[in-house]
Amino acid sequence: MTMIFGIPIQAFLGQLLVGLINGSFYAMLSLGLAIIFGLLRVINFAHGAQYMLGAFIGYLLLAHLGIGYWPALILVPLLVGLSGMAIEKVALSRLYNVDPLYGLLFTFGLALVLEGAFRYFYGVSGQSYMPPSQLSGGTNLGFMFLPNYRGWVVVASLIICIGTWLLIEKTKLGAYLRAATENPTLVQAFGVNVPLLLTLTYGIGSALAGLAGIMAAPVYQVSPLMGSNLIIVVFAVVVVGGMGSILGAIVTGYMLGLAEGLTKVFYPEASNIVIFVIMAIVLLVRPAGLFGKDA
């Protein structure tokens, strides 16, 4: 068997793939957080819960209505996004004039309610969600065995991340968004409906979380707790990347996922905490984060 650094190459590549998959979800979630934070100045603690909600809606659509993975890929983000917009309209929009910490506390409460409710109805044990038939099975790449669905997750998340980045950097809507991030009052004076823009932004951010959730459903178990454990890691990712740049959030997500995978190979005991350790080191060396602009 081929060895690399004293580790069988199969195991090495296997963990690297797991790291890449985790990194894909870190990237998608921290991207959503960064978009919301950029415009609303709110840290969306409910992001993990919305990710869980996405996975659960996908699961419920399949179990009760027989709607499969592909339609769910459109429907789930739409539903989660709409619910996000409703929440922004009813509650979050009232908190823009007070300390940003209240936004964090509100969304924390929201996360608790969502998680508690799903726990009450579905318990803590996970439900499994089969990958669609087109993507079941795997491919032998010669040096390793790649489950098709996991390959799809990596490719799709890359497309989603780059697509969102292009949306923000290259389109008219994105230009409004960036302008409103810089100076909302001025943009409003030019006749742009900034409150609507804020609602839309929270909708897009939540939709991204929902989309990540439905994509995660076949990889991990669909469980009420799947979001809360993830969101704390994603917060660390966001601290490392700095929330100044969209691209920064994406790159940091993938990098830290890979770092976690590598740690699992060489020192499994530390794999849970490696991202937090990296965060601490970054705080010492570059407190603003790797891509952060604010000092």
Partner: protein
């Protein structure tokens, strides 16, 4: 908190009423175990001190820590381990827990104060989660089981703490010392500087205060007092488990403070009392506690950000200025 511009006599009567209320409160706490279940009261006192310690940081320094469970639960582990495995007396066990929490506070605070506002909250949350994973894996915490069957022992070698009333007065003593410490810190020149940092950090820097050092000091003090609460809790319930180091516990103490009133002396104590009572009440029902907790969070943030005590105080001062 808006300071009232009242005349000297007003202030004197006010101070006298305040002391009278504090005296009445302490008398009620001394009498309480003869009427109510002592373990429930002790739980309340521990959480009230935890919330008061947390409020020292959030209410008076303006730093929202999302990781205070690390100090509370960490101290519980240290105390439980010292008392059970090393056979220390309870007072030294508690001291070790408090000391351990202070060291943890120094480490976590050192990193967290490098960023402000929302980042500060996320960093404390992440570092506390790291400590949680450490507790899951470290052998001395006994993993999922936790440290069970911790003996309460004999205070100073001769007061038997397995007698509920003795234990109660031990906890009450710790609680009063802790809350007095918070009061003393807030009303000292040091506390004034903390408040100035809360109000306008850049101004405080330009006035020549090394803000980072003050923040770290406040963080460590808050962690230390949270540790005292956790250490006592370990002796009351005679166990230390992972529950006390989870992020949910950090959220709970935020809720207690928010519900009672951020930046008020009495608020966190009232908030802790309410939340503990509510949990006790819901513990027997089927209904999930987190849904209620989350809903209270959202209602507080949307409708009364000043909290119960804060709203009452605001009513009072408004009423007074109307009368004048």
């Amino acid at each position: 908190m808006a300071e009232l511009t009242s005349t000297g006599i007003d202030r004197q009567t006010r101070a006298r009423t305040e002391w009278l209320l504090v005296g009445l409160g302490i008398a009620a706490l001394i009498a309480a175990p003869f009427f109510l279940y002592p373990v429930f009261l002790m739980k309340m006192l521990c959480f009230a001190l935890f919330a008061a310690a947390f409020n020292l940081l959030l209410g008076y320094t303006g730093l929202l820590s999302f990781g205070h469970a690390a100090f509370f639960g960490g101290a519980a582990y240290f105390t439980a381990h010292a008392v059970k495995e090393w056979g220390w007396t309870p007072e030294f066990g508690v001291l070790l827990g408090v000391f351990g929490a202070a060291v943890l506070g120094l480490i976590i605070g050192f990193f967290a104060i490098r960023r402000q506002g929302i980042y500060f909250a996320m960093i404390t949350l992440a570092l506390a989660q790291m400590f949680y994973f450490f507790c899951v894996q470290a052998p001395f915490t006994k993993g999922e089981d936790g440290i069970q069957g911790v003996p309460r022992g004999h205070l100073f070698g001769f007061i038997d703490l397995s007698v509920p009333l003795n234990m109660y007065f031990f906890v009450l003593g710790g609680f009063l010392i802790g809350v007095f410490a918070v009061w003393r810190i807030v009303h000292s020149p040091f506390g004034m500087i903390l408040k100035s940092i809360r109000e306008n950090e850049n101004r405080a820097i330009s006035l020549g205060y090394s803000v980072a050092r003050y923040k770290l000091a406040a963080f460590v003090m808050s962690a230390t007092l949270a540790g005292l609460a956790g250490a006592m809790k370990a002796l009351v319930f005679q166990f230390a488990t992972l529950t006390d180091v989870t992020w949910q516990m950090s959220g709970e103490v935020i809720l207690m403070t928010l519900l009672g009133g951020i930046g008020t002396m009495l608020g966190p104590i009232v908030g802790a009392g309410l939340v503990v009572t509510l949990q006790n009440y819901l513990a027997t029902s089927e209904f999930p506690v987190t849904v209620i907790t989350g809903a209270i969070f959202m209602i507080c943030v949307l409708l009364f950000r000043r909290g119960i005590v804060g709203e009452i105080l605001a009513r009072f001062s408004r009423g007074e200025s109307d009368a004048r």
